[in-house]
């Protein structure tokens, strides 16, 4: 493993660690803890990611970090965004299936499968550090 790979992993870790630390440190600012349904949890997770991503954007625009740091953040951002966007897509798909289920247009099995799939995404996204590292390891 070269230092570039190590650097990318560190920034992925850093990036997601920041989310978890913020959530841990700010008891009054934990959207995920306030969510009660799967869709709300997904929304809270994605929203938290967006807030941190915007902070990362400000950081790279600040001109106060090295070029290598900007590159590493950009790589980490790409990886995190793809996980987060998959979560978002799964939620939107689930919303449609739930509406169909409530209207009696689809069976319970499909609804439960979609809910399980979404719960799976949420569970993978919530411990974001472990999730992303696993995704990177799985891709190797």
């Amino acid at each position: 493993m070269n230092y570039v790979t190590v650097g990318v992993r560190q920034f992925q870790t850093f990036y997601l660690l920041a989310i978890m630390l913020l959530l841990q440190a700010c008891a009054g600012a934990n959207p995920i803890a306030k969510a009660e349904t799967t869709e709300q949890r997904a929304f809270a997770t994605y929203g938290t990611f967006v807030i941190i991503e915007e902070q990362a954007a400000k950081l790279v625009s600040s001109g106060q970090i090295s070029d290598s740091a900007v590159r590493a953040i950009a790589r980490a951002d790409s990886q995190v965004k793809s996980v987060a966007d998959s979560l978002l897509d799964a939620t939107l798909e689930f919303t449609v299936i739930r509406a169909e289920f409530e209207a009696g247009d689809t069976g319970e099995e499909r609804f439960v499968r979609a809910m399980n799939e979404l719960n799976g995404w949420v569970e993978r996204a919530r411990p974001l550090i472990a999730n992303l590292i696993s995704a990177v390891k799985g891709a190797e």
Partner: protein, 145 residues
């Protein structure tokens, strides 16, 4: 929790990562890389007030959603995705600009002094006769910036 305590929590958490090979840390982590990470984290925390306020506001949105027993709607999802896409673009464009700058630098370094002088002439840059290759590159880059 104040910013100092928050920073301590953050650094403590980061040190766990840096010392754990399973999390991408461990003996292969160079001290300067670790310092850079800490500096970055510090930078993030310094700007953390704004993020904290946003997080508090967003928590209230989610809390309200839960109290009303409603699910996030498409408009709310689209708004978040739009913000993410915008931030993503800023980050990726910053990285692309660095990449481009480095590519240009490599391109210029590969040119001979005569070729650099031709390039300078085309760009309308006046180059002293005694200028070295490195100085001509500097002049070309300065004009581009």
């Amino acid at each position: 929790m104040g910013i100092v305590e928050l920073a301590l929590v953050a650094i403590k958490g980061l040190s766990v990562v840096l010392n754990n090979p399973a999390l991408g840390g461990g003996s292969s982590v160079k001290l300067d890389q670790a310092s850079e990470l800490l500096a970055l984290l510090g930078e993030l925390l310094t700007r953390g007030d704004e993020a904290h306020d946003e997080l508090v506001a967003f928590t209230k949105v989610v809390e309200g959603m839960a109290a009303e027993g409603r699910q996030p709607n498409k408009v709310e999802w689209d708004a978040l995705r739009g913000r993410s896409d915008a931030a993503h673009s800023i980050i990726q464009e910053a990285a692309a600009a660095i990449e481009e700058e480095e590519t240009e630098q490599v391109f210029l370094e590969e040119l001979t002094k005569a070729e650099l002088l031709e390039q300078a002439e085309r760009d309308g840059i006046s180059v002293p006769a005694s200028a070295t290759k490195a100085q001509i590159i500097e002049l070309l880059e300065a004009v581009e910036e």
